[in-house]
Amino acid sequence: MSAENLEREPLFSAKNKKLLLGPINKDNPITIQVLGICSALAVTVKLEPAVVMAISVTVVIAVSNLVISLLRNTIPPRIRIIVQLVVIAALVILVDQFLKAYVYDVSKQLSVFVGLIITNCIIMGRLEAFAMANKPWPSLLDGIGNGIGYGIILIIIAFFRELLGSGTIWGIHVIPKFLYDFGYVNNGMMILPPMALITVGIIIWVQRSRNRELIEKN
């Protein structure tokens, strides 16, 4: 055995850093992989639920990636999707229970959406595409990276939807009173799901025009 093989890879090697940071921009689950759009539409009316959703999804995706990666050599391929689902569902219930016990207000804000994390395609996507074939540490990083990548987009969308739709940020009014006196009106359209999709579209547009290598060639 050569000395190179014995030498352990550093925890934050260039490859691992890419796993963590890639999904935030060039490999973003929402804008590039176009996964998890459904929940991005549902929880982005207000900023606060979006932030908590982002944190919850990051926790669930990171831990489930880690668990599945640890189990990957024992999971029979024929029932792998079921095993992944059981792990995700169990983690989501745990998160929900902890939120209810320790941050009750926030858990009320999120209500049904915590349960919806189970159906978030990003999580199953990462388990299937990454954790099933990689070691635990890279899988954990991949999970955190994708969770953050998802969360950032969620927070950006929620910021604009809350600002333009309700005139508030984190529940506090920021649009000054005199603008309303001059006839400014909150855009009710922003509260409805279609505008979330359009906002995602605008983010994709901005991202690709800043980063030309992301544009598909055909």
Binding site: V43, V45, K46, P49, T74, I75, P76, P77, R78, I79, I82, V83, V86, V87, A90, I93, L94, Q97, F98, K100, A101, Y102, Y104, K108, S111, V112, G165, S166, G188, I191, L192
Partner: protein, 253 residues
Amino acid sequence: MYSNGYIFRYASILVILVAAILSATTLLLQPAQERNVRIEKIQDILASAHIASTPANAQALYEKHIIREIVINNQGEEIAVFGNGNFEKGDLRAFNIVLKTELKKKELAMAGKTAENPVFPLFVCQKDSETIYIIPLYGRGLWGPVWGNIALKSDFNTVEGVTFDHKGETPGLGAEIAYAPFKNQFNNKTIFNAQGQFSSIQVVKGGVFNSNINPMHGVDAISGGTITCNGVSSMLKDCLENYVLYFKNQNAI
């Protein structure tokens, strides 16, 4: 390859393990969760009488302000009174009544399917020198239950304040019932008309101004939240009507 036996064993062990972890967590966290639910109920009751509280001081404020918990039956008679930490009458605390079950009983009793009579809770609150009567509410919204409290002034007619909450109404639309702009509309409305008949308070689609409903008994609905708002309307009617006899017995009206 993996044998069928291995797959079965794998699946069984995994499921049993997960079930054990989940049950253990639920058992461990249950006391904290139940405490949160209890504190929330207290805070909601106080909030309807415009008494601000935090989770930390809610219990103390409740003991200070809620001087009596009354349970009434459908004839409008008091069957239990709890005050100053002991029972003056009966042995049922209004705080422990589950309104959902009582409303179900009422529905069944009206259909003649059960002889069991429902009972309803009423909280008597002392704020400054005012006596306020707080009535819990429970009903159906669009996606799930909606509930709340309505506080009436000592004339049993004028609204002091309301609180609403919900399980999962649409954020930005139906969920707006839980926020001040909607709730504040209820202040100083009345639930009895000039002839002393029960009229409840309606949440009016398209606005009270454009309808023929007396503005004393109507508030504006939320655009895009019609089903939730209709749910609030029928919740107010279904819950308040149970107290009409009691209020009349108190000969305040």
